[in-house]
Amino acid sequence: MAVARSRSKLVLDIGSYVVLIFLAFICIAPIVWTFLTSIKLEEDIVTRNMIYIPTRITFEHYVNLWNQSGYPVLVVNSLITTSVTVLICMLTGTIAAYSFSRFHFRGRTQLMLAYLIVRMFPAVLMIVPLFIVMRQVGLLDSSIGLAIAYTSFLLPLFVWMLKGFFDAAPKELESAARIDGTTRLGAMFRIVIPIARNGLLATAVFVGIAAWNEYLFALMLTTSQGSRTWPVGLQLMVGEFQLPWGMLAAGGIISILPVIVLFAFVQRAMVAGITAGAVKG
């Protein structure tokens, strides 16, 4: 019995390694391949005989991308939109998450459900009216307008995720702080938010990544270089030139670099937050 069980455990362990290494390879391979493509010479990309490991390395695609395609402007636009989105979420979402986490009041469950359900609304259904409204108030084709549009799906997410982190801080802390002489406001800012700062950081990064990556709203709500974000710009290159693979690959690598770095950086806390919010939801 014991031998059989330990043997079957060994088989499962080996199986697990095989599966995980295979999946990790599948997940990483496209990124690696894109990176390799981005440092190949043009004639090594378009070739009869596939070159797997480039023998000649060049950074001309990166240089071209940076100098010719207006990519720096796109990146700056994306940075502005992302920052504004994160800022709006932090300013309005943090206190909302705190309220949901700390207080029991009439209508709380219904309101929380409402914050969850708005994520079910089709983006397309909102995009058209947002387009019309943004045009009326003059926010169409602006980074601020796009950031406000992003909050439609990112703010509810932010609130739910951050609530999970606030829930982890014991409720007695506020009671202790209030007896020690703070107001509820003081207890929130001096005690609870500092405790949840890692969670706040992870949530902000998650929302930041989502805003950085977003394509559909940006496509509809930006029309010029003035506010266009990099995903839209990168996609437009496909039409402008005849599939400039080297440059597309370079653009892709540059754009996902911050995502990969941030993900690696706050990965654990972020994963915990996403699952906490989603599982409870």
Partner: protein
């Protein structure tokens, strides 16, 4: 230091009333224990005293002041929480001094006060650590330090020992008692642990279902429980409840239980009104002793549990299990018949309808 009085306090959440008309008085320097099973409303009552939750009616008076509408920070109280609620991002020093910091006490007097409190609790060497680096017992001491540093009128303890292991719990219980003796500040202490209640309290309020069942000193609660709930809740092993009929036999009150007859002497005066009626006799396990007598029960030994100083015996008396605490020398064997005599002066009678003591 101050007295505390609670007058007709009620609390309801929606349509559910969790506290019904609570009245309490605590003398200056007293130690009041709120004791009861979980969900009895004791913690809610403590929160109302602290001002963390509003009451739905009634008054809380600390010293001379009615504090109903006064913010917790202005009630001059201090509280120790079950989870200690130490601020994890702050050092122990800042944790203890936070209340003074919020009250704008200047740094040097603050340092003095922190130093004195730390000395008293023997945690001076821990002042620069973070709560996360402390053991359970040390956290408990820091939490108490935070409470005493402010010299409050009233200490509130919310199950402060329930997160500690058994040995540490006994140690810290002694510590709390020592602190109270030394500081003389009035205390309200919530617990579900009857031993804590008995050892610490000058006054114990046993609660159930949002109602105070009995408010008295620990000895009275133990010896003359107001009703069957209190009688059963206090004491370990729990009090034996023996159903029977009260009768007058040759001028003496006797209790018939099946074939057994207990002669009752020294029982409460009101008992004679129950002659001919069903009653419940509450008998503490330690009031049994081996041997026959005018009041004795005979049964078959079911289980024997030696605990060291005592031997617990479960006796099957006509289908009803009776537990008795006997001397350590007694080692009956399961299956043997055994006769135990009862010290009826320590026996309580209860009305089976209302559960109240006769």
């Amino acid at each position: 230091m101050a007295t505390l009085s609670i007058k007709g306090v009620r609390k309801s959440f929606g349509s559910v009333e969790v506290l019904h008309n609570i009245d309490l008085e605590l003398e200056d320097g007293g130690f009041l224990v709120l004791l009861g099973p979980s969900g009895c409303g004791k913690s809610t009552l403590l929160s109302i005293i602290a001002g963390l939750e509003p009451s739905s009616g009634g008054d809380v008076v600390i010293g001379e002041r009615t504090v109903n509408d006064i913010h917790p920070k202005d009630r001059n109280i201090a509280m120790v929480f079950q989870s200690y609620a130490l601020y994890p991002t702050m050092s122990v020093r800042r944790n203890i001094g936070f209340g003074l910091e919020m009250r704008r006490v200047d740094t040097s007097s603050r340092e003095d006060a922190i130093g004195r409190a730390a000395d008293l609790l023997q945690i001076s060497h821990l002042l620069d650590r973070k709560p996360g680096q402390l053991s359970g017992g040390q956290r408990q001491r820091v939490a108490m330090g935070r409470a005493i540093v402010r010299n409050p009128d009233l200490f509130l303890f919310d199950e402060p020992l329930s997160n500690l292991d058994a040995k540490l719990r006994v140690e810290m219980r002694t510590e709390i008692k020592r602190l109270h003796d030394r500081l003389g500040t009035s205390v309200v202490y919530v617990t579900h642990d009857q031993v804590e209640a008995m050892t610490l309290g000058t006054k114990v309020a046993v609660m159930k279902g949002g109602v105070i069942q009995q408010l008295a000193d620990p000895q009275t609660i133990y010896e003359q429980p107001a009703n069957m709930f209190v009688a059963g809740f206090i004491g370990s092993p729990t009090m034996n409840f023996l159903n029977g009929t009260l009768e007058n036999q040759d001028g003496k009150l006797v209790l018939h239980h099946g074939e057994e007859t207990l002669e009752l002497s020294g029982v409460a005066k009101g008992a004679s009104a129950y002659v001919g009626k069903k009653v419940v006799a509450g008998i503490r396990p330690e009031t049994f002793s081996k041997g026959a007598g005018p009041s004795a029960l005979t049964g078959i030994v079911d289980v024997v549990e030696p605990t060291g100083p005592d031997t617990m015996v479960v006796l099957d008396v006509g289908g009803q299990m009776i537990s008795a605490r006997l001397g350590s020398r007694e080692r009956p064997h399961p299956g043997e018949p055994m006769t135990l005599s009862v010290d009826t002066t320590a026996l309580n009678l209860f009305d089976p309808e209302t559960g109240d003591r006769i």
